[in-house]
Symmetry: C2
Subunit: 333 residues, 2 copies
């Protein structure tokens, strides 16, 4: 690891790795934003940025609290996930996971190839006891609370038992945020118990049976239309449906913001005040990335086209999860 | 059929049946709105409203162009679809479909039990040649065009061949709207050909093979986030995913409108101008219901909690589909 930092990695309270490669944001631009953002973080947080050697050569001195880890390979969005993980061991993605495994890092953030990040996490970190498949969890703002939605893209095929495991990971996540008895719902196309696929019906019965006023409350099936009204802490779904759900919300949010911006620019500059609020609620690109739940390590995946803001939000998220001992909470559940 | 109308049913250019029962809107309220709306329609359009006998007793004289068809049974949202269709033959839903089959109606609009409407349509009207499963099609506004999305809720299980059939129904629908070479996309979680479920991958290959510059263009996989930017005329998906997609869009739309309304009320009354535009783009409850494609008859399903406006928009839709000979277009395709 190159670079210079006054914080010794072994003394840092929280050591976060950030993969600068694989995103649509140029690595130097991302690094510039991280450097500008560094003073907003606690001094006890150490950031290790992973990038190519030529980027390192171009760099001047890095500020306190940031070190550079130079790599000689890169996993691209086009790479086959399994092949890439097996053969590109000098890539930023592989190296970051390796550092997490060896406890040199407490958390790792990547904007790269989702499949490779998942395959690498399963291979290097392995899954937590009772978890067969990791899931991507994202926090979504609703009218009344922040909702944990999972899986938003890790598994396109699934069985009922996986949905139940996702529910328990979501519950542990919300507990680490201070919600002691989270409300859990199943994303479905109607509220009646018989709605949806056979897997959803089986998961419904299993969650209903396990629901217990002291650990979590199962509120049943939730229609996508109702989700944003709030009242649910954990929304359980498969990776295909969850991804469609999340991206639809993002897509509508983007179109509305753009339309309002045009209107505000042309007709009503005072509208800009309303938009600041709305942007915070809708512009999911500014929200932290998704947490890869169920592996023995804190791994956060940002969109490939993530704005710099999303990566910066993820640093805050990662620090919070480390501080709240998220892994221990999931493990103890 | 009771009631009095100066238009003889046999001379009406377009005869539309409307089921007053099964929606969350009280039948008398829906009827009142239809009566108020009647003058906005062409004189050659005849509306037959289907409701219970006791509602008929309370009615005064109906205006020209509306007749009342009294029924003695009702299919509720809780009824098992197949059982209801087999045993409630005096219900408004069954009677409406029967009238459509016997060509007493050109189109039928219902806000009732979706499963019963679908089962009844398949049973009474039967499917068009080459169509194994009917699909619910809805028209969605995007930045540049009106997009036909199907299936939005008829089939929760499906095979690749059904997706291909949905694509062809969507193409025929857009042709009846004057788009001669529609652009067709598959709703998926990434744009690459290998993304999604095995069914999606097979459908992708089949559509790519059939794509032909003279009849339709297959534009490949479309992510939910990109859909609202426009550029696609037909979006193909299964009934589960399509329903989640549609209801997520509705849910976000509702929350945004409500937030903006509060802001406009409190701080910026001038915002109301922007909201009228936005409402038309977002408030899907005001959009026409979904067309049940692939059966030998024009059947439109409005949400169970449809606003009256949605039913009225559906009357316009139905009249347009009859006028443009939609069924002949689908059949000829």
């Amino acid at each position: 690891m190159r670079g210079k930092s006054k914080i010794c990695p072994h003394r840092a309270e929280c050591h976060i790795g950030i993969d600068l490669l694989g995103s649509e944001v140029p690595p130097q631009e991302l690094l510039k934003a991280i450097i500008a953002f560094r003073p907003a973080l606690k001094a006890s947080i150490l950031l290790t940025v992973l990038g190519t050697d030529d980027l390192y050569q171009k760099l001047g001195m890095l500020p306190d609290g940031i070190v550079f880890h130079a790599v000689s390979e890169m996993i691209t969005m086009e790479d086959d996930p399994l092949y890439a993980i097996r053969h590109k061991k000098r890539s930023s993605l592989y190296q970051g996971l390796q550092m997490l495994k060896e406890r040199h890092l407490d958390a790792f953030i990547s904007t790269g190839n989702t499949g490779a990040l998942m395959a690498g996490s399963k291979l290097l970190l392995s899954t937590l006891p009772g978890v067969e498949r990791p899931a991507l969890l994202t926090l979504l703002p609703t009218r009344t609370c922040d909702l944990a939605v999972l899986d938003v893209g890790a598994n396109t095929s699934y069985k009922a038992k996986h949905l139940v495991q996702f529910a328990f990971m979501g519950i542990a996540f919300q507990r680490s945020r201070g919600i002691t008895v989270p409300k859990v719902g199943l994303l479905n196309i109607g509220s009646e118990a018989r709605k949806g696929t056979p897997e959803l019906r089986t998961a419904y019965e299993a969650l209903k049976e396990k629901s217990d006023s002291s650990s979590f409350t199962f509120v049943g099936n939730i229609e996508a239309r109702e989700v944003f009204q709030g009242g649910v802490d954990v929304l359980v779904t498969d990776g295909f449906t969850g991804n469609i759900f999340l991206k639809t919300a993002e897509g509508i949010g983007m179109v509305i913001l753009e339309e309002l911006e045009i209107f505000a620019h042309e007709k009503d500059p005072s509208l800009k005040a309303a938009m600041t609020n709305l942007r915070q609620h809708l512009h999911y690109a500014e929200y932290p990335g998704a947490l890869l739940c169920g592996v023995k390590g804190i791994v956060i995946k940002c969109h490939g086209d993530a704005t710099t803001q999303s990566v910066l939000s993820s640093i805050h998220s990662a620090a919070r999860l480390v501080g709240h001992r998220f892994l221990e909470t999931v493990n103890a559940f």
